[in-house]
Amino acid sequence: MTDTSTSDPLVPDAAPQASATPVVVFKNVTVSFDGPPVLNNVSFSVGPAETRVLLGPAGVGKSVLLKLANGLLRPDRGQIDLLGQEITHMSEESLFALRSRVGMVFQEGALFDSLTVRDNVGYQFIQQNLPEEKIDRRVRKALSFVELEQTFALYPDSLSGGMRRRVAIARALISQPELILYDSPTGGLDPVTSTTIIELIIKERDVYRTPSILVTHRLQDAFTLCTHRFDADKGQMVPLPKGEIDPGTTFMMLEEGSLIFDGSLHELLSSKNPFVREFLE
């Protein structure tokens, strides 16, 4: 369940304890919507403190895969385990409790446009009827993580695209989730704003070690994630020494609904698969 204790959720030592059990497991998952399969026999897992980058061109089923992982969609065949529980046939009621332990950043942010940034970020806590002061404090901490404290009382309409994504990240992080799902967090953004978002994701990865799945079609973002780390002293991301990569960040690639690659950056770069080669070039 979502943490509602008095401890500060946005300090590094409050990060969830890693266990050996994978947080997400897909076993031969197939799903289709009135046509050929969008995902076909997909199998993979996400380990504790692992960041899986899901690559692929637009329309290959990347977002569908994320929604399946969170139980927002149901597979036609196969099995999906989330946080140690099989969700394939789980009732919607039971899924609500499980989903509150997962943070999700949607493609366009999906902020509630009739609510302020404060109410968007603290949405879960407002629903749980936590005291107002506590909600304010935790919202301010989450906003300070994404460096947007000044937007506390603003409405999403008055924010830029990049700021909305950062607010969406704050909303996903505030309840200290055990898994984060990023759906194209840099899609449609300019290169500078994209780098800011990727820096935040690296910061989250290195500070809290929360396992995550990140969907993107931008190779540059994927490589930045692998070749940089967050320097807490400098308060910014810095490149890893030449030849080093983040061991917890690995890649998957989808082609027309099938998972054609699952491995490290080195394996990706040395892959002989023609589709992977074409995507990389």
Binding site: L72, E93, M104, F106, Q107, L111, F112, Q124, Q127
Partner: protein
Amino acid sequence: MAIKNIESSAKNIVLTVQEYSLFSARAFTNLYRPPIYVPEFLIQADIIGVGSAAIVLLSGFFTGGVLALQSAATLSAFGAAAVTGRFVAMSMIRELGPVLTGVMVSGRNASSMASELGSMVVTEQIDAMRALGVDPMRKLVTPRIFACISMLFFLTIVADFFGILGGAAVTVFMNRQNGTQYFSMAYEYLRYPDILQGLIKPLFFGYIIASIGCFYGMRTTGGTQGVGRSTISAVVTSSVLIIFVDFLISQVMISLFPT
């Protein structure tokens, strides 16, 4: 080819009815299981009830006035102009009050529910709500349905009252008849089954308006064009259903309480 199209359309209709039935049942049973969102109910009651009061009041008043105008001319040909009050009151309370209020509120609120929820669906706000562990059916649909049922009940009473008042205004100031006679005829021939019929109908109509509006909103697909399609479907379907269900209830009530 034509047979295949008919088969496909028939399957779609059956599927829509099935989905609507499941949707309605879930929205209704949510009222008896926590969490119950009382603030959302009150906000919707304000939007539907207070927000629609002016149009219901005005349309009720002028409909009553038109009824008095049209009926007085016909009734006076038979020397029965004195029963104008009875005619207006019966027509408003049994039929026109509930149906007119239902259609007016449908145009205003079924459309707003479908477009609001539809926009939330296409911008992934509904998915975001589910991802945050909140049930959109409980949070958005159930409060709208119960607010619409309760508010349509009171709005119908407002429409009935102002309809009779509109009829009185025409009778007294335009037809130059006696106001006391108008009201006494309106009151004297009114029976409890008439009032019962007039107050049962808005409960059904309120349910139709909100459940259809929310149903079409929640199944919106196809971006902003889809939101437009959902809004049109919600208003058309709820308006037609209101008139159809009005016919059914009238038939049942006439069978139960014959004149």
